[in-house]
């Protein structure tokens, strides 16, 4: 198998001087693919995402994007290389309006991004109503929509989402997954962490199960869904 487009390869590391959270953990995604990471709480899923994005030091292992080693780049440099990320928590600018949040998503873009913004508003109509409201005043689910919208504004080369559907209503979740599929159809690789694992694995090309910072199971989405052990331990039976 050739080298994947984005790969966090055998990453080991943790926060600051604390203990290692990740142990030889590998995650990767290719263009047109949706890769989903699942696992118990505290397994290190978010940590793995942050490691790929350069927000913590990996003690060993490497991160490569399009064959280029970006292990030493700062998060901001990775953004410029075309990586987009929606963190799990504090993922919006609470004091800025919804519209400004989206504009900030497009910060590195120099072209006209008004049509991208229209697309986001089309995807999340509620945001259009609230475009001039401070994002901090939104409901939990609305915030989540802003966060995802912000990442889409970047027009990234690879999109990383940490639990994008946490707290959104079923109808919006379906919309969101639809949109994610659509986006991935355009060739954009998508790496996401999900606790709504069943739905997520159904649309996933590739699934990782992380346990205690290490890869426990890896396979296609369908494979994992079919694995009784995985179902029982991580997908709620």
């Amino acid at each position: 198998m050739s080298e994947p487009f984005l790969i966090g390869d055998s990453m080991t590391g943790g926060y600051g001087k604390g203990p290692d959270i990740l142990h030889d953990c590998t995650i990767a995604v290719n263009p047109g693919e949706i890769a989903v990471i699942v696992g118990p709480n505290g397994a290190g899923k978010s940590t793995a995402m942050k490691a790929v994005f350069g927000m913590l030091n990996v003690r060993s292992g490497a991160v490569r994007l399009g064959g280029e080693d970006i292990t030493t780049l700062s998060p901001q440099e990775r953004v410029i290389k075309g990586m987009g990320f929606v963190p799990q928590t504090s993922n919006i600018f609470t004091s800025m309006t919804v519209e400004e949040n989206l504009e900030m998503g497009a910060f590195i873009r120099t072209d006209d991004f008004s049509d991208t913004m229209d697309q986001v508003y089309h995807l999340f109509p509620i945001l259009k109503d609230k475009r001039h409201q401070a994002a901090g005043e939104l409901s939990g689910g609305q915030r989540q929509q802003v966060a995802v919208g912000r990442a889409l504004m970047t027009k990234p080369k690879v999109l990383m989402l940490d639990e994008p559907t946490a707290g959104v209503s079923p109808i919006v979740m379906d919309e969101l997954f639809d949109r994610i599929i659509e986006v991935s159809r355009t060739g954009l690789p998508i790496l996401m962490v999900e606790q709504n694992a069943k739905q997520a694995l159904e649309i996933a090309d590739k699934g990782y199960v992380l346990v205690q910072g290490a890869n426990a199971y890896t396979g296609t989405g369908q494979e994992l869904l079919a694995d009784p052990e995985v179902r029982k331990s991580f997908l709620g039976g």
Partner: protein, 336 residues
């Protein structure tokens, strides 16, 4: 009854000085509020930054004067102002690199920043006194008055005079321009918005591709400019003495807080609230009363609510009252 004289007296002693002082406080408060809004700490070194900037302006003003360069009716200091601003910019950038950056990387708590800024304050304190000494410096020149009290009396034939100093005029005009610019910059430009984004959520700003160091740098540059302008105008209007500038910190912070930390409009409003309350509440209304009230009602005493001994107490009392009703200031400031 003589409303005209009453109004002129009130303007001369209360309104005009109050407005000028208010603008000076406002310009100072803008710097404080900006640091708070974007870098999220109360910068106690601001008074001494103002002193430093003003000092450089003074030194160059003297140099220009010795060369015979002047700005006609305007103070020569205005010509030296850009140099002062540049020097102050250099100073704050160096300070930031040498001191504050470390704590930003550590993600230290705001109170640690406050203490660090106290340390910086002490050092700048020493630096300024080293260079120019602790004494009083005067550097105003050019036309001192736009209109003099005596001239006004002759012109209008009124009993009361009205004086407007050039420095007062410049202060007010500058304050208006600077605020408008700043407001536009922060709310409408990309860089301005990125600064607000940074202040809101540093990590996320990073993820949006905003260069935090650039945001910090621009903030300091603006603050340096504001501090130098504020300090120079204050010095032109009153006089320059390092200790006074340090003392100025208190009303400046009061202004920034009443207005709402982080809000440029609030800084302006706060500056006027503080300045006006100092002057108004302790004003002896005797003279004004004498003009507008009928003879029989003329006040016997001074008609003064509180003696001027309490002017700071009054402005702080008003501050506390405002905060009780608007806990984060008039313009809904931030709180970290």
């Amino acid at each position: 009854m003589d409303f005209l004289n009453a109004f002129v007296a009130l303007s001369n002693f209360v309104l005009i000085p109050g407005i000028a002082y208010g603008s000076q406080l406002a310009l100072g408060a803008l710097g404080v509020t900006l640091i708070y809004g974007i870098l999220r700490f109360s910068n106690f070194a601001h008074g001494d930054t103002m002193a430093f900037g003003t000092m450089v302006v003074i030194l160059f003003t003297w140099l220009f004067q010795s060369w015979g360069i002047s700005a006609g009716p305007l103070p020569t200091a205005l010509l030296a102002l850009p140099i002062g601003i540049v020097a102050t910019m250099a100073l704050v950038l160096v300070t930031d690199k040498a001191v504050f950056k470390f704590y930003r990387e550590q993600k230290a708590k705001p109170v640690v920043f406050v203490m660090v800024s106290l340390g910086v304050m002490f050092m700048m304190n020493g630096l300024v006194r080293f260079i120019i000494g602790p004494g009083d410096q005067r550097f105003g020149d050019g036309e001192r008055f736009i209109i003099k009290a005596g001239t006004f009396k002759k012109m209008t034939g009124l009993d009361e005079g009205l004086a407007i100093k050039t420095s007062q005029g410049i202060t007010v005009v500058t304050a208006i321009i600077v605020v408008a610019l700043l407001f536009w910059f922060l709310n409408k430009t990309r860089t301005g918005k990125s600064m607000r984004a940074y202040s809101d959520n540093e990590d996320l700003a990073l993820l949006s591709g905003i260069n935090p160091e650039r945001v910090v740098m621009i903030t300091w540059l603006i603050v340096a400019a504001l501090a130098t302008i504020a300090g120079t105008l204050y010095g032109l209007d009153k006089s320059f003495k390092p200790f006074t500038y340090f003392q100025l910190l208190l009303p400046i912070f009061a202004a920034a807080i009443v207005g709402g930390l982080g809000s440029p409009l609030g800084a302006i409003a706060g500056g006027f609230v503080i300045a006006m309350s100092e002057v108004m509440i302790t004003y002896a209304w005797k003279k004004v009363g004498g003009y507008i009230l009928p003879e029989s009602l003329e006040p016997e005493g001074l008609a003064q609510l509180l003696s001027t001994d309490y002017k700071f107490a009054v402005s702080f009392a008003i501050l506390v009252v405002v905060l009780l009703f608007k806990p984060t200031g008039i313009f809904k400031g931030k709180a970290v």
